[in-house]
Chain length 656, copies 2
């Protein structure tokens, strides 16, 4: 290896092993193994300016093998990202540092996405590459013209989501995307061959990728391969044959370097072997110099780009899109829709209302890019006459994700992280389980993605229990920083969509019915009542003895039960609860007033009880599901499972 | 197509379109498209005897494309499975029928697994094929010598789990496994090419499969391909080029046949085109005759097999294994372990206790087959000196699943369904999200699989929030028919493992700590206290004013808080809650006694509050997490998030 590149790469190795040693926790093997590839990439190819980590036209670098976080932290520190000080490196894996165990979006500039859950960095990067092409089509190559580079390990490629991602990338011909596979033939349990015999090059090729294998420690091969990647008309895989823990005195190539500190003796011997005489966390100027030069390489490009932006007629639009701000009149048409719904009280499935809402807002909010995991007609996610996002021009705003819920959700995260796009995507609510790991990352990162989950209960009918969510509302509500919306009618659906679009740092999931349900709201109050999370939809006529809480299609059941109770002289209020999370954010006195103090409290939801105790207390009545559903028409299932107004009434009467 | 085969296949077509029409719901396209392939398979190759659907040495047929359920129901009816009467066919998709919308295990003999959630039938079949090879290695080819056949659609192959499955099958050289891919180039949204351009043959080949493409409507090609499959030394993919809705008068090849009734006009025209003059649900004798002969083809084989079993010295063992019964002395060594733990009170991580429990029970229960998704050392799932399950002899009892949590969970389902194997497998608890769709199917089907989820809280420390479960206990507890265990020490860990192994129709997940925790239980009561779900671990010294509920590593915190309160003269009981689910199954008076009536109730768990209201009521105190974790040593994180004995005490005092 040529001298400057060698010491640049060795600096990564030494920083990584020293930081892991100091923390007595972490993964030195991968950063040491991929140091050479990363050094060539960051010093010769990656378009970035360490002085402006947020430059919108920078290349995106994704460390999908997130356990190798010290590779990324070393690169950020060495190349001069201001926030990544040596003190932060020393605080590796300590509370509040910019250097958590796995890279976390938002903790440090230069960390483009949170990684660690394997396969997802790769799958997220597909979304970044889609967003890049889409933004390029919208704003032109003068403003958007960058690449996405991914470092992935064997674990990433074994995870199923990697297949969803590479198939989608291949289909969309995302030529700005390059995966650098750390082909070190080692996993935690030992040799990759213990559990895998896949010909990865052939596999990627089958998915429509251009592929190449190189020696990941040969600078010439690395350079040529990276240059080659930039010339392809499809996504590219470079299999970098490396030794895990490269440079380690005795453990080079050994899986013991993967996930723990090397130990003082090995570290001392490794220093000697590398000819690295400096103390831990001391980087000499002759190393900083070429690295800082690398970190400045993009400055000229950035300045030129800034000049182009300043001169562009699209400047305001571009900046607003990248900032994630909605346009001024985003909800004008939607507000008219709400007024109309208040007057006309349309009865329909809430998925249909959702489709109607999209018709009102999709044209106003140019950043919205929709899609579905092959359930477009069922999810009502497609807005008439929308062009499909596809090669070669990518200007379309609808993605055919295929039967890939997890890949879709991860790609949506990538789009949101890239900026300039507000992604939404649909599947059946029950299959949110498939996408759950990516929904969790969205919640953890705090990015605005909107999941459309239709067919939200046994009300979907004949498809049966495999397709009927029962525990999903509860399990999604359990997740921090995820807004779970279950609107009851057209107005609530519109309100919830507004809330989801306004939630810049919180992902949302909309639970929507397959089956028709009546309108429950009258004239709009001017206020977005759903923003309260829960609100009194119907007051008691007689003195209130009963409070009935419900969501979605069960709100109509609650109202029917109320009418029956009132007819019998029993005062009953109805509370619609479109979002548990937003209700928790209300002032305590509002919460107390909504919950009230009636003798009997009942909740109705075609799901499990878990979580409803918050509303109905220990002694409350729950009308819902206690097990899995069944295959039959919805009109049969609701009575079969005892979710009816009559059941509410008789349960209430038993308590009075 | 030769005459008898043609009318046999047409019978499937007509039954499928008629049943969907009657239900006005369902998927006729796939059964019509795959009728020819299925007819050849079921009449010439599949080893089965319709008179004995439970014959252990039958071939397994898995309809991974579960929406095409009428294909399977037609095959079962026509070939003479007694339970699949014509009345059941007429009751397609109606409540309580043997013919739900998607095939459901347990609803009808001949349905080997529940399918519908795409990709999972395929992934489950890998487990069946593993179990077959393993049982063959254990009992010999005289008793176990069958194949697994899978019908999969484009959706199955797009789902990421399919990659995990085919890579594992390829690595393990599961030559008794054949996938018949319904290559109809149609998905719900339209042409497959809208979202996919994968060369599936090349992809499977890259995973180590033998592959072949045929015309799925050409009997000669189908026969030759099926015969070819039985001769390969690796798993086989047969790409069957078909037309969806084959035979339909005007809609042949159109995606409109996929998911809805064809309509009376199209059906009438289709009858004419096929030359099928019979009324709906009327099958003439000339069709039943060859089909019933097909259903009897395996009878001689079965009788011969029964004779071999009767003569076998392994008969009792084989029958016990297949019945899923534990051997008589399964827990003898484990009971000694419990007695020892009661005396010695070992402090260790509960994952280590779990490893120690496995050492005691794995040798006694020969059916147990372990594994891990590449976290063997962390999950403590490997029992010393266990042979790895691998080609060519498959006698080993430990599977290197690779970084494939979902694939592992689905394969475990397949092993359990096959019978003769009790599978357990490990990953980090947080990555149960990756496996969640397969855990749900296990719960829905009621099969005994045991998930080992280590690193069960922020107590895992430095790996940070991507690896720290917070909402997982709640989200898993929300799922019906899943036992979630979170044991507190060695004795509870042993008790919970016993319960999991005894739960023949319920899957379990063990939440186990990474960090060390003290013993909390003294001399065993003789009773398995964990079987109660929750029990009083420590009584109050002073008159009880406080009840503290806790699980796992937080039980020690609860006990410490109790001691501090008692020292201040405040009587406090401690309730250990290893399983919410089992507690719910206790008599009401037991539940009431455990919950008690103290003035203050507190729960301590390093997870979200959701679900704990059941124990602490509306006014209760919860000491736990309300958001995601952080990267830092566990000794820092617990105080940081306020999960300490001191926090419990001060919260209690504020309430008293």
């Amino acid at each position: 290896m040529p001298a400057p590149l060698k010491i640049m790469a060795d600096a990564i190795r030494v920083l990584s092993m020293d930081a892991v040693e100091k923390a007595n926790s972490g993964h030195p093997g991968m950063p040491m193994g991929m140091a050479d590839v990363a050094t060539v990439l960051w010093s010769k190819f990656l378009k970035y300016d360490a002085a402006d980590p947020a430059w919108p036209d920078r290349d995106r670098f994704v460390l999908s093998a997130g356990h190798g976080s010290m590779l990324l932290y070393s690169l950020l520190h060495l190349s001069g990202f201001k926030a990544m000080t040596m003190d932060q490196i020393k605080a590796f894996r300590q509370l509040g540092s910019a250097t958590p165990g796995h890279p976390e979006y938002g903790h440090s500039p230069g960390v483009e996405t949170t990684t660690g859950p394997l396969g997802q960095g790769l799958a997220t990067s597909i979304g970044m590459a889609i967003a890049e092409r889409h933004m390029a089509a919208r704003f032109g190559a003068d403003l958007v013209d960058h690449r996405t580079w991914v470092v992935a390990g064997d674990g990433c490629l074994m995870e199923g989501v990697s297949q969803e991602a590479i198939a989608l990338a291949g289909r969309l011909k995302l030529s700005r995307l390059t995966v650098l596979w750390d082909d070190n033939r080692i996993t935690i349990d030992g040799a990759v061959s213990l559990s895998d015999a896949t010909d990865q090059l052939a596999r990627f090729k089958a998915a429509g990728w251009a592929v190449k294998a190189i020696d990941g420690h040969d600078v010439g091969q690395i350079r040529r391969a990276l240059a080659w990647a930039t010339r392809q008309d499809k996504p590219t895989l470079i299999a970098c044959r490396t030794q895990i823990g490269k440079g380690a005195a005795t453990l080079e190539g050994h899986h013991d370097t993967h996930g723990k500190a090397l130990g003082t003796q090995e570290i001392e011997a490794t220093r000697a072997k590398l000819g690295w005489s400096h103390e831990p966390f001391v980087i000499p100027d002759e190393v900083y110099r070429p690295w800082r030069a690398a970190g400045r390489r993009g400055r000229k490009d950035r300045k030129a780009w800034e000049a182009r932006l300043a001169a562009s007629g699209q400047k305001a639009d571009f900046e607003r899109a990248v900032a994630g701000d909605l346009p001024a009149h985003a909800f004008e048409a939607l507000d008219a829709f709400i007024a109309k719904a208040a007057a006309e009280k349309p009865a329909a499935a809430t998925r249909q209302h959702s489709g109607a809402v999209l018709e009102q807002v999709f044209g106003q909010v140019r950043e919205m890019v929709g899609g579905s995991a092959d359930l477009t007609g069922s999810n009502n996610t497609y807005v008439k006459n929308t062009q499909v996002l596809d090669a070669p021009d990518y200007a379309g705003r609808y993605v055919n994700y295929g039967v890939r819920e997890f890949g879709m959700a991860a790609a949506m995260n990538g789009m949101a992280l890239h900026g300039g796009v507000i992604p939404y995507g649909g599947t059946f609510l029950v299959f949110s389980d498939y996408a759950r790991p990516a929904i969790r990352l969205a919640a953890l990162m705090g990015v605005r993605v909107i999941h459309v989950g239709t067919h939200d209960s046994i009300g979907l009918g004949e498809d049966g229990p495999t397709h009927q969510p029962v525990e999903h509302l509860a399990s999604l509500r359990a997740m921090p920083n995820l807004n779970v919306f279950r609107p009851a009618d057209a107005i609530e659906t519109a309100e919830c969509w507004k809330l989801a679009l306004d939630a810049k740092t919180t992902p949302s999931i909309m639970a929507l019915s397959r089956q028709k349900t009546p309108a429950v709201r009258g004239a709009p109050a001017g206020e977005n009542l759903s923003a309260r999370g829960a609100y009194q939809l119907a007051a008691a006529g007689h003195p209130a003895q009963v409070t009935i809480f419900a969501t979605g299609t069960e709100v109509a059941i609650a109202l029917a039960a109320r009418d029956m109770l009132e007819a019998d002289g029993v005062g009953a209020r109805v509370i619609s609860v479109p979002s548990f999370e937003l209700f928790e954010q209300q002032p305590a006195d509002y919460q107390a007033a909504v919950i009230g103090e009636t003798a009997v409290r009942v909740a109705v939801e075609a799901g499990v009880k878990q979580g409803w105790e918050r509303f109905i207390g220990e002694a409350g009545v729950f009308i819902g599901m206690s097990g899995f559903g069944a295959s039959a028409p919805d009109k049969v299932l609701y009575p079969h499972f005892g979710i009816t107004a009559e059941a509410v009434v008789s349960a209430v009467k038993a308590k009075l």
